[in-house]
Symmetry: C2
Subunit: 294 residues, 2 copies
C-alpha cells in the first residue's frame, strides 16, 4: 500500500509491504498550501511508478483547506474509532486506486478549551500497538507541538503548545532576534534555558532576560537562540504530568535531539521513534479497517 | 525648566514652571532610532522658542545608542541615588543651556537574571513623593511592561514582561493573526482572556486556544485579538505579589483602560496616573540635585 503524510507545507509518501515495512520514501514541498487545489494531479505525480491500489492519507489534506474535509474524531478514541472515521474519496484520473483520508481529532479540556490535531493522531496510531495497559505519553515536537496522553491503548486527551512557531517569530521579528548571532547549537546555553523555565512560570518576563543576558554578556550572542529554544521547550515540558508509565518522542532528527536533551535534563528518559510513525499508523488503520492492500 | 522623555521611537518635550506644573507639551516621532546621531540638532528643533536654560532628559537618549551613555544605577535606589547619577552633557550649538541626562536602572533577581529599564525609573521618580512608608507597586504597561516594586520610598526591584511586543508579533506574524478580523475592542473576549490566564500557567498551550476558539466559533473573529490581549495581560498580572499597600498604573489612555479592566477583574484597584509622570519625575530629580532652573 501507499501511505501519505500530507501536511500544510510538505508531503511525504511511503511505499509499504504487507507487514507495513517501509520499502521506499519520497518527499516533496507540495504541501496543501502549495497545491492550489490541484490535489489529484499532485498525488498522481508523487506516486508515479508505484502501482499499489490502496492509498491512505493523513494530515491537513483532510482539513477544510485540503482535498476533502474529514470530521474530527472526539477524544477519547482508539484505533477502532479512528479507522471507522476514515473516508474514501474518488479520483477520476486514478480509477484503479482506492483512496482514503484519515480523520483528525479534537478534545475539550476541563476548562472548556478546544484543541485539534490532524496528522499527529495517525503517527500515534503507529505506536499504539506497542503500548500495553497504563498511561503513556507521546510528545510530537514541531511548529505546534502535540502532547498526546494514552490510557489503556486509547487516546484520552492531548494539547498543543505553540513552541516552534513562537520561537521562530521571536527570532525573526522581535527585539530578541536583533542581538542574536548565527552559531552552532550551544548545549550549555540550551540547558540553562531548560533549567530557567523550570524555576519560574512567568514566560513573558523570562523572555526579556534573553535580551539582558546578551546585553550583559551572561551569554555570547551566538548562544542566545539556543537559550531561547531551551527556555521555550522547557516551558512546554513544564506541562508534563507527574506520573506515567512511558514517554515517547516522535520527530525528525534535529528536534529529536533537542527534546531528548531537555527531557534528560528534567530526569526523564524518552524512547525516540523514527519519523516513519505516520506510515506505520496508516498501515495500522488499514489493517484495523480490513482494507485489502491488493 | 524643560523635561524631555526621549525614547526609542518617540520624543516628548514638556515645559514646566518652578513647581513642576506642565505649561506646554510637544510630541514628535524623532525617537533615538530616527535621529541618526543628530541629537543636538533634533533637540534644538524640538525646543525652538522655549528659552528655559535647564534641560533634563530621560529614556533611551542615555543608552549606548543614544546621545551619551549614562550608566545604570543598581537597585535598590531612591531619588537621591538616581539624581546623583545624572550626567551633564555639552551641546556646542546650545551654549546657554545646561543639559542633563538621567540614568537607567538595573537589578539582579534572586535567580541571577539581570533586568534593565531606561525612562520608566524617571516616571516612577515622579510618584515617589506621594508614597509613604510601606510597599507600593507601579505598573508601566507597554511594548516591554515594567513592574516596579517600591519599599519605603526606594525602588527595591523591578521586572520586565514582553507583553506588548509578543502581542504585536503574534497578531502580525503568527497563525493566530490569520483568523483575526479587525473590530472594536471586545470587552467580553478580553475578560475571558484575563480569566483564562489566571486558571493556567501554560501560556504556549493557551496561545493555541486562540486559534481553536476562532475555528470552533467560541469567539467571533473580531474578538480574537481582544481575547489574546486579555490572555497576555492576564499572564503578566499573574506575577503581581500577594501583598502591597497600593498599586499604580502609568500609561497612555488606551493601555490604561485595558490594564484597569484587567486589574478590576482580578479584584485590584489601581490608581491611574496621567502620562506626565516623566515630566514630574525629571522635575523631582532636578529639585533633589538642587539644579537652579534659571
Amino acid at each position: 500500500m501507499i501511505a501519505i503524510d500530507w501536511g500544510t507545507t510538505s508531503l511525504r509518501a511511503f511505499r509499504l509491504d504487507a507487514e507495513g515495512r517501509v520499502l521506499e520514501t519520497r518527499r516533496s514541498a507540495t504541501g496543501v498550501l502549495a497545491c492550489a487545489g490541484r490535489f489529484e494531479e499532485v498525488l498522481a505525480h508523487e506516486i508515479d511508478g508505484w502501482d499499489d491500489p490502496l492509498i491512505l492519507m493523513s494530515g491537513m489534506i483532510g482539513s477544510r483547506q485540503g482535498w476533502h474535509e474529514v470530521p474530527y474524531v472526539e477524544c477519547p478514541a482508539g484505533l477502532g474509532e479512528i479507522a471507522a472515521a476514515m473516508t474514501p474519496i474518488e479520483a477520476a484520473s486514478l480509477p484503479d486506486r482506492r483512496i482514503w483520508i484519515a480523520p483528525g481529532m479534537t478534545v475539550k479540556s476541563r476548562d472548556g478549551l478546544r484543541d485539534v490535531m490532524r496528522g499527529e493522531e495517525t503517527q500515534v496510531c503507529g505506536l499504539l500497538g506497542d503500548f500495553g495497559a497504563g498511561r503513556h505519553l507521546v510528545c510530537l515536537p514541531g511548529t505546534h507541538s502535540k502532547h498526546v496522553d494514552i490510557v489503556d491503548g486509547r487516546i484520552e486527551r492531548f494539547h498543543t503548545a505553540m513552541t516552534g512557531e513562537v520561537f521562530d517569530i521571536l527570532c525573526r521579528h522581535s527585539i530578541l532576534g536583533r542581538l542574536m548571532e548565527p552559531g552552532a547549537h550551544d548545549p550549555e546555553a540550551f540547558s540553562a534555558g531548560v533549567d530557567d523555565a523550570q524555576r519560574r512560570d512567568d514566560l513573558l518576563a523570562q523572555l526579556f532576560a534573553v535580551r539582558t543576558k546578551g546585553l550583559f554578556g551572561d551569554l555570547p550572542a551566538s548562544g542566545l537562540s539556543s537559550y531561547l529554544s531551551g527556555l521555550l521547550i522547557g516551558h512546554e515540558l513544564n506541562d508534563l504530568p507527574q506520573a506515567f508509565d512511558s514517554l515517547h518522542l516522535v520527530a525528525a532528527d534535529q528536534l529529536l535531539m533537542l527534546y531528548e536533551r531537555a527531557l534528560i535534563r528534567r530526569g526523564h528518559h524518552a524512547r525516540s521513534h523514527a519519523d516513519f510513525a505516520a506510515a506505520k499508523g496508516l498501515h495500522a488503520l488499514a489493517a484495523c479497517r480490513n482494507l485489502p492492500s491488493q
